[in-house]
């Protein structure tokens, strides 16, 4: 695959006796926001560090634009490490200018780039402060600016949203969407699944070093069992129990909650309910990413 796709191809890594990554494979397409989720220690950070060359893989390959990632390619990646990495005693502006210059920008270009990201991320008043004197949220903004200041062709962000206030989350989301819109593949990890669900085009779920699901959010949820709340006041108890492919989860005065097997038409449930009398409510719940994630990482719904 060419055209600026980031491919992680059967990457494996062992630390001593522990298998950290077992043939991890996924790709991040140009212009796509890819959410990388998994429990703590599942292998997200390890994967990202391998993409950046901070760690060496035992086997497998990382490719960008159809070619194996080399040191030259890595200079075109914007990286936000999980444990933040900046000089604590360096001033915000100096730090960003320095990083831009190390990526081959001239002093002038570097200054322009740094100033514009400082402005964009709301750090203008802090530009002359030492990084160690900033709040954690602001340090994180600087860290994001550091990942973006050299106009990278790929973005790899490890937990970019952790520790941010809601306003900063919005700013960060906008920036990521904007970068993706210019055709940059963006991959980030997060534990804030509602955010991932809202933001990402596709999601990869990793469990114990293995990718257990990788699809768009709707693709992931489409295959899963869906739930319906039915409020039919006149229905006798156990009215839905005999329907094929339907499992009653709860039944009380507020209604009946049933779970449908993936291939069952919800209209059969509605018809059965109407047969008992009037139906006041009929609500279909799409499983959230959080629910999918729970079942995926506990191993129930491993595809």
């Amino acid at each position: 695959m060419g055209d600026r796709t980031l491919e992680i191809d059967r990457v494996s890594k062992r630390f001593g006796k522990v298998t950290a990554l077992d043939s991890v494979t996924f790709d991040v397409r140009p212009g796509e926001l890819f959410g990388f989720v998994g429990s703590n220690g599942a292998g997200k950070t390890t994967t990202m560090r391998i993409v950046l060359g901070v760690l060496a893989a035992d086997s497998g390959e990382v490719r960008f634009d159809g070619a194996a990632v080399t040191h030259e390619t890595r200079t075109r990646i914007g990286y936000l490490p999980e444990e933040r990495g900046l000089y604590p005693k360096m001033k915000v502006l100096d730090q960003l200018v320095y990083l831009a210059q190390l990526h081959g920008f001239s002093a002038n270009e570097a200054h322009r780039g740094a100033e514009s990201w400082i402005e964009r991320l709301g750090l203008a008043e802090r530009r002359g402060d030492e990084v160690q004197k900033l709040s954690l949220g602001n340090q994180q903004r600087v860290q994001l600016a550091a990942a973006l200041v050299h106009e990278p062709d790929v973005l790899v962000l490890d937990e970019p949203f952790s520790g941010l206030d809601p306003i900063a989350v919005d700013v960060m989301s906008d920036v990521l969407r904007e970068k993706a819109a210019t055709g940059v593949p963006v991959v980030f990890s997060s534990h804030q699944l509602d955010l991932v669900e809202r933001l990402c085009d596709r999601v990869g779920i990793i469990r114990s070093g293995q990718i257990v699901a990788c699809d768009s959010v709707s693709g992931l949820t489409a295959g899963a069992a869906s739930r319906i709340t039915v409020l039919a006041p006149d229905a006798p108890a156990g009215w839905a129990a005999h329907l094929p492919g339907v499992r009653v989860l709860s039944e009380n005065g507020d209604g009946t909650l049933v779970e449908l097997a993936p291939d069952i038409d919800d209209q059969t449930v509605l018809a059965a309910a109407l047969a008992t009398g009037p139906v006041r409510e009929f609500t279909r719940h799409h499983p959230s990413l959080t629910e999918l994630f729970r079942s995926a990482v506990t191993g129930e719904a491993a595809s």
């Binding site: 901070v54 040191h71 990495g85 000089y87 320095y98 081959g104 920008f105 106009e151 055709g183 940059v184």
Partner: protein, 399 residues
């Protein structure tokens, strides 16, 4: 999308890293205060030396009564003999005696020129005694010559022009004492400089490692460039400080009159700067390798101690080397690469290192730099991204 490739050329990467180190260090309060403190210590030492030199050699002689007439020949004779004698006219002999007892006067001379009497606190300086005897003798001689009808001035001038002819096989350097001072100061500055800036290399590396900024840096810069830039940047900072201290020290020493051999001192300073560069490069990569093994500032001291110890041994050995700079031990020690940068400049300062020895030390040190840079670079390369527990040297070298 721009799509342009923007990898920095190696030279630019090294320059950028070095520049950052320079500006990060030169601007700090630590650098300014450190330089000022060392300068103050240096100035204090020089003033102490100057005071010692001007007071120790000076003899104050009080003249009273007829003895006042010997003031002129006494001063002239003293100058010839290389003595620093100050004469004072004392009106009251009783008070003069008091002053001698109090130590304000070294001697009180009274009586007629032909028959001088000297009062001292405990004993009369032998040279001064000889001088006064001479003056007395000349006075007697002058009187006798007049009695014999001869011109005392002519005869005395003939007598004065007669002297032994001395031919020496070896010349003693009158400035040996000053050379010793220069050698000690230089040795101290080099030891301090290499230790301080070497430790800064290690600390800087641990700072990058503990703050994880190294992960970002190494995604665009190669480890070698990062290491080289750091070493060059800190080396230049150290060199700047040493040059400032050396030049200021030299100026102060010449101004206070402690140093009269400015030429030799300047040469020594230039040699010192060269040896600082060599010594720093010799130790910097070793310090860097040591620093790259640990991830926390608290652990730095443990890994640096063995390296600092070698420098300390050189510094301590330096004191005996300076005492006897021509001995075999001194020669051999100053040729051992890890010790050369501290010991050789001292031997050059004392004027006891031959050109061949200096050349040999330079070649050996350069070879050691090449070897240690290669080794240190390898350790650094292997250990820099391995955070967490301390990386063992064996692990770093076998990977």
């Amino acid at each position: 999308m721009t799509g342009r490739r923007r990898t920095v050329p190696p030279a630019t990467a090294v320059r950028l890293v070095a520049q950052r180190e320079l500006s990060a260090r030169l601007r700090t309060r630590g650098f300014l205060i450190g330089t000022a403190v060392i300068l103050a210590v240096l100035a204090g030492y020089l003033l102490f030396q100057a005071n010692l030199a001007s007071n120790a050699g000076r003899t104050t002689v009080g003249l009273t009564g007829q003895a006042v007439a010997v003031a002129e020949p006494l001063r002239a004779g003293a100058q010839q003999a290389g003595l620093d004698v100050e004469t004072r006219r004392i009106a009251d002999p009783e008070r003069g005696a008091e002053q001698v007892r109090a130590g304000e006067l070294d001697a009180l001379v009274s009586g007629s020129p032909a028959n001088l009497r000297v009062q001292v606190k405990s004993e009369l300086d032998q040279q001064l005694e000889a001088l006064l005897n001479g003056i007395s003798g000349q006075e007697v001689l002058r009187a006798k010559l007049l009695q014999a009808g001869l011109n005392p001035a002519e005869v005395l001038s003939d007598v004065g022009s007669a002297s032994v002819e001395v031919s020496a096989f070896e010349r003693t350097d009158p400035a040996q004492g000053q050379r010793l001072v220069i050698a000690l100061v230089m040795m101290f500055l080099l030891y301090m400089g290499i230790t301080t800036y070497g430790s800064l290399v290690a600390q800087g590396i641990v700072e990058e490692k503990s703050s994880r900024v190294v992960e970002i840096l190494l995604s665009t810069v190669r480890p070698w460039h990062l290491l080289l830039g750091k070493v060059i940047g800190l080396g230049l900072t150290g060199l700047t400080q040493l040059a400032i201290l050396g030049a200021a020290g030299l100026a102060m020493a010449s101004a206070t009159g402690v140093l009269t051999i400015t030429g030799i001192a300047t040469t020594t300073l230039l040699w010192g700067l060269l040896w600082f560069v060599l010594g720093f490069f010799l130790y910097a990569t070793v310090f860097a390798a040591a620093g790259s093994l640990v991830s926390r500032q608290e652990d730095v001291q443990t890994v640096l101690t063995p390296v600092s110890m070698v420098l300390l041994v050189g510094f301590i050995a330096g004191f005996s080397v300076v005492q006897e700079p021509e001995g075999t031990t001194a020669t051999v020690l100053s040729l051992v690469p890890p010790l050369s940068p501290i010991l050789m400049p001292s031997r050059i300062a004392t004027g006891s290192a031959g050109p061949l020895e200096v050349a040999a030390a330079l070649v050996l040190t350069l070879a050691a730099i090449a070897a240690l840079t290669w080794l240190g670079g390898r350790v650094y390369h292997a250990a820099i991204l391995r955070t967490g527990t301390r990386v063992s040297l064996k692990d770093a070298l076998t990977r």
